[in-house]
């Protein structure tokens, strides 16, 4: 029992679960509708857009890189898909396919810049962010698209199962949430059970060693940025599904929130660390803090302050724990 607990205490995820549970009890005590299935389903739907991208961000961070351009990639993909649907038509599958293709190509360019030219990822992706977004604004003049096809808005309404409430309204688990979950499963499979996934961790841990042991660093780096792009493309379609309006300036600016959520979930900005479950928890934490503030009727002027506090508190706990661990290993080394 004690050993099991000690083992649990090593994981960032454990602390996140405790913080989330604590906050949930606090919010639910003030407003019981927080812990309803309906609220959970609503949140899971709203945050699918962030969730899908967070998995891509996670992989990039684990590999020791960073991507600032993914919101711009998502916007470009979203816009092109919207144009594709209006001009050519197609169905929901072709919409996702176009987005995935556009996203992967734009992501691959990032991968090339980072791997072949060895441009620091933050500079490379800030440059591509400006280029992608600037080109989009130039080409579109910032026009909004809001006459999306009926089949597109119909798809957004599909629910896996629907629950009828006493007062005649309904709610259910949205198909959009399932896309997020599918992406998470894919993320777990890739990271944990493939050579590619293990080499992503290895590169983030120590790039030189990874090269020396003969891992295919090039393939792995090109993969993480392309995959980030692919997921950004899919997220772009999700955003369009959620709001049914495509505005070129609606996604850009949210990238730091997503990176923060993933880091909150235990991914390290220096690479080599992070998990899908952690990224999920990081996002959940941010989501319930924001959700909880309205539900607890906290005045909106305090929103940002509380978000900042929760981030500090959670990152503080995990970093401090990391520091303790380091000290412990250090002592062992001395003894040896």
């Amino acid at each position: 029992m004690e050993i099991a607990l000690r083992k649990l205490a090593r994981y960032t995820e454990t602390y996140l679960v405790i913080i989330i549970a604590f906050l949930s009890i606090l919010i639910a005590a003030k407003n019981p509708s927080f812990l309803t299935l309906e609220n959970m389903f609503d949140l899971l739907k709203s945050y699918s857009f962030f969730g899908v991208m967070s998995i891509g961000v996670l992989m990039v961070l684990i590999s020791g890189g960073i991507d600032i351009s993914f919101a711009a990639v998502a916007t470009v993909a979203e816009y092109l898909v919207a144009l594709f649907m209006m001009r050519i038509g197609g169905n929901i599958f072709s919409a996702f396919a176009v987005a995935a293709l556009v996203g992967s190509v734009l992501g691959y360019i990032n991968g090339l810049l980072v791997n072949r030219f060895r441009i620091p990822p933050i500079i490379a992706t800030i440059a591509t962010m400006n280029a992608y977004y600037g080109l989009l604004i130039f080409a579109t003049g910032g026009k909004w698209i809001y006459d999306l096809p009926i089949w597109f808005s119909d798809f957004a309404e599909i629910q896996l199962f629907t629950i009828h409430t006493a007062n005649d309204s309904t709610y259910g688990l949205s198909i959009i949430t399932m896309i997020w979950f599918a992406v998470m499963v894919a993320g777990i499979l890739i990271l944990r059970f493939t050579m590619l996934g293990r080499s992503i961790y290895a590169i983030g841990g120590d790039r030189k060693s990874a090269l020396r042991v003969g891992l295919n660093v090039r393939r792995a780096e090109e993969f993480v940025y392309s995959f980030m792009g692919l997921l950004a493309g899919i997220a772009g379609v999700i955003q369009a599904l959620l709001v049914q309006t495509v505005a070129p300036n609606s996604i850009v600016g949210k990238e730091l929130n997503i990176i923060a959520a993933v880091v909150l979930g235990g991914a390290s900005l220096t690479g080599g660390k992070g998990s899908v479950f952690g990224a999920f928890l990081g996002l959940v934490l941010l989501a319930i803090v924001k959700n909880g503030m309205t539900l607890m009727a906290i005045p909106p002027v305090w929103y940002e302050f509380f978000v900042g506090c929760v981030i500090l508190l959670s990152v503080g706990i995990t970093s401090y724990k990391g520091k303790l661990e380091k000290r412990r290993t250090a002592t062992i080394l001395v003894k040896a």
């Binding site: 709203s46 003049g141 809001y146 709001v243 505005a247 959700n291 309205t294 909106p300």
Partner: protein, 328 residues
Amino acid sequence: MMKKVLAGLVLAAGIFGLTQGAFAQAAKGKYEIATVVKITGIPWFNRLEVGVKKAGVDLGINTYQLGPSDADPAQQVKMVEDLINKGVSAICITPNDAKALEPAFAKAKAKGIIVITHESPDQRGKDYDIEMIDNVKFARHFWDELVKSMGTSGKYAIFVGGLTVPLHNLWADEGLKYAKEKYPNLKLVSDRIPCGEDQELSKQTMLELLKTYPDIKGVIGFGSLGPLGAAQAIKEKGKVAQVSIVGTVLPAPAAKYLSDGSLRSGILWDPKDAGYAMTWVAKQLLDGKKITNGMEIPGLGKVTVEGDVIKVDAWIDITKANASSFGF
């Protein structure tokens, strides 16, 4: 790491700045009137540009519009300074930051360049500010419209674009004052919520409001996307009959929400009129004319002059019936 991020951001800002150089060439002997907007490439200011161009054609002068790629005060100041160095006849501007522009306006004045602002009535250093609405009357109109569909009692919420957006908060202040006297039974559930420029966030916020205040009956939304997000949320929850939403919306994107009733009415002014009016006033001043009470701007109506603020009552009510007829 943080240093890297900062360095990157600074670099990015620089890159953005470099791309802002393309000014139209001045035609010789003609007035050259430049309009600087808050941000380029969004529907609102695209529409404003239509008015700027129309004024150019109508008045036979050289007009054009430019603006930063994001709502950055520093970039806007830089643009104004470039225009001053270039020697334009007049600068019309919707300021991102009233204070930041004061030194640049002083330089313009020293060179005899006319400065006309819009949406910045308290701006220092301007020749005139033009408001397409009387802000107090405009604000009150939202509450009147809300009451028209939700009745004079019940719970409601206010969305603003941000807690520091001057006009949104001015409208909210004025409206709340008015409501206190005229509609004492309206009950505001929460302080104004800053989500009005983000449709996704507004939708999520509305869902949360429905859970926290199940008997909520109305929302007033300032910001072009907030009302749409709220409308989507009540549609999703089948509460269209229960909740009345009114707000500042662009007619074309709002049309579908107005037609299914999830949005009750929109109130706004046409940015095209603002673009036209700024240029028109600048031209009058360049001609040495004075702007006086009751003067008429072609197509917009009579003006009221209060000190250095010119007001035109040009708000439009956007309804199910007329939403698709505005052309923006």
